[in-house]
């Protein structure tokens, strides 16, 4: 069986309980929730509400109705950015963002929204002081700060607990892209001053693909991205004012949300600390193993800095995509190569245009998997040096 080490893209496999929830809900309750008033529809609606409550509890969100389900983190980010920003607004972001943030911002820039991207250091770290400076730079305070909690290229963790409360004091909206951190790092929207939290359900939260959410602090009322049926007040020609319905039209995926519930329950039962310890141990093993190989350059935080659930590296004079191909076809090992949909971040750390090789172990990977990767890398490098000699 293949060794899957691309959990930063999506976690695989999922816990058994997730498969069970998907199967059982698919067979017995794959009903349109919030539509119709027969018993099964109500039961599906109750299930979806429970998932909303679970998400709210997990991130210390005071009101579950402020949790809007989306298909993924990208949709959640687009919903917030396009729904809230208006011409004349100024937005502060960073050079470490995924295209999920940087592409919407690029479009918004053409619509009269001013974007300032704060550079990270060469390890991918952004300082809170630099964000503060950018927010107040130029005489007009920014309307919003938006950044990723954890880089999908370097694993760098940004100091959101420092930035958020300061933004709250200044009256600046603070939005966090938690695609890589939800289910790995503790996130408390209240103590961290987070006004908007976008996350995928299918990564660290261990749910199925097609799940994600946006949390919006009380008082925010974005323009919807999509218009349509919401289940209640159908006679009105307008979208409802209330959340989540205002931003959540069309049939929700009850089955997938049941899977997300099971995924979050699994994370809660194991605890973030244990999950992080497991991944950190595998990344440390990888770090020291790679450090012994010739020509390897590891990108991102040093071993003394906190790091998310991935490690990026490159090889002098080698194309990452070729190494990734060899790992796949000769050793049955799946890792990610290239730009990881984050060209700005690669520009920042100096790995454009080739990108890096990214390894992101999951909860079910073991030390033996990392050993297999290291052995494969050793053989690939030996073969290459023999050929070039």
């Amino acid at each position: 069986m293949a060794i899957y080490l691309d959990n930063a893209a999506t976690t695989f496999p999922k816990p058994e309980s997730v498969y069970h929830a998907l199967d059982q809900t698919g067979r017995h309750l794959a009903i349109s929730p919030g539509r119709g008033s027969y018993s099964l529809a109500l039961e599906a609606g109750r299930l979806v509400y429970e998932v909303r409550e679970t998400v709210a509890e997990f991130f210390n969100i005071p009101d579950p109705s402020r949790v809007v389900f989306t298909a993924n983190a990208t949709e959640a980010i687009n919903l917030a950015l396009f729904g809230l920003l208006r011409p004349g607004d100024r937005v502060v972001s960073t050079t470490m963002e995924h295209n999920a943030v940087s592409r919407p911002l690029q479009v918004l820039a053409s619509r009269g929204i001013e974007i300032e991207r704060v550079p990270a250091d060469t390890t991918g770290q952004v300082s809170a002081a630099a964000i503060r400076e950018a927010v107040t730079n130029g005489g007009k305070i920014a309307r919003m700060v938006v950044l990723s909690h954890c880089s999908n290229v370097t694993g760098s963790i940004q100091p959101i607990e420092e930035i958020g409360p300061w933004c709250r004091q200044q009256g600046v909206l603070f939005m966090v892209d938690a695609a890589q951190s939800a289910g790995l790092l503790p996130i408390d929207v209240q103590s961290m001053g987070i006004d908007l939290l976008a996350a995928a359900g299918h990564k660290g939260l261990l749910g199925p693909a097609g799940t994600g959410f946006l949390y919006l602090v009380e008082g925010l009322q974005p323009t919807p991205l999509i218009y349509g049926g919401t289940g209640g007040n159908s006679a009105s020609p307008l979208m409802p004012e209330e959340l989540p319905e205002r931003l959540e039209c069309g049939t929700l995926n009850t089955q997938a949300l049941a899977g997300l519930q099971a995924g979050i329950d699994f994370v809660r039962s194991h605890g973030l600390e244990q999950i992080r310890r497991h991944k950190s141990a595998l990344l440390e093993q990888l770090f020291f193993g790679l450090s012994r190989l010739p020509g390897i350059r590891i990108h991102g935080p040093s071993q003394v800095q906190p790091q998310g659930g991935l490690l990026s590296f490159s090889l002098a004079g080698q194309d990452p995509s070729e190494i990734g191909f060899l790992l796949d076809v000769e050793y049955d090992i799946c890792i990610r190569t290239g730009l990881h949909c984050a060209p700005d971040a690669h520009r920042n750390i100096g790995t454009l245009p080739a990108g890096t090789l990214r390894v992101s172990p999951g909860l079910f990977n073991t030390a033996a998997d990392i050993d297999a990767l290291l052995r494969a890398m050793d053989r690939i490098l030996c073969a290459k040096s023999t050929i070039s000699a």
């Binding site: 008033s37 509400y49 209640g232 159908s234 009105s236 209330e242 319905e245």
Partner: protein, 90 residues
Amino acid sequence: MIADGDRIALFNSPTRVMKAEKLLRKAGLVCQLIPAPRQVAEGCALALRFAATEQTAIFNELGAANLPPRRLYGKHQGLLSALELTSENE
């Protein structure tokens, strides 16, 4: 679906009515989700039905959770009529 002496409460959204039902059931109060009758709500809204005798307890519970209904109706002699949003109605 609605008997004399019943109350039906409408909320602002399907999510809020689900939240209300869960809260009330957890508190041991008897209520049921029903389709809102055409006379009181256009479209496909849900309503929460409960006995008039439970109104005080239910309003106290909803008030404590900052979840007041949007509208309240009572059925008397076969007719539904709007009631004030208070914890007690004659």
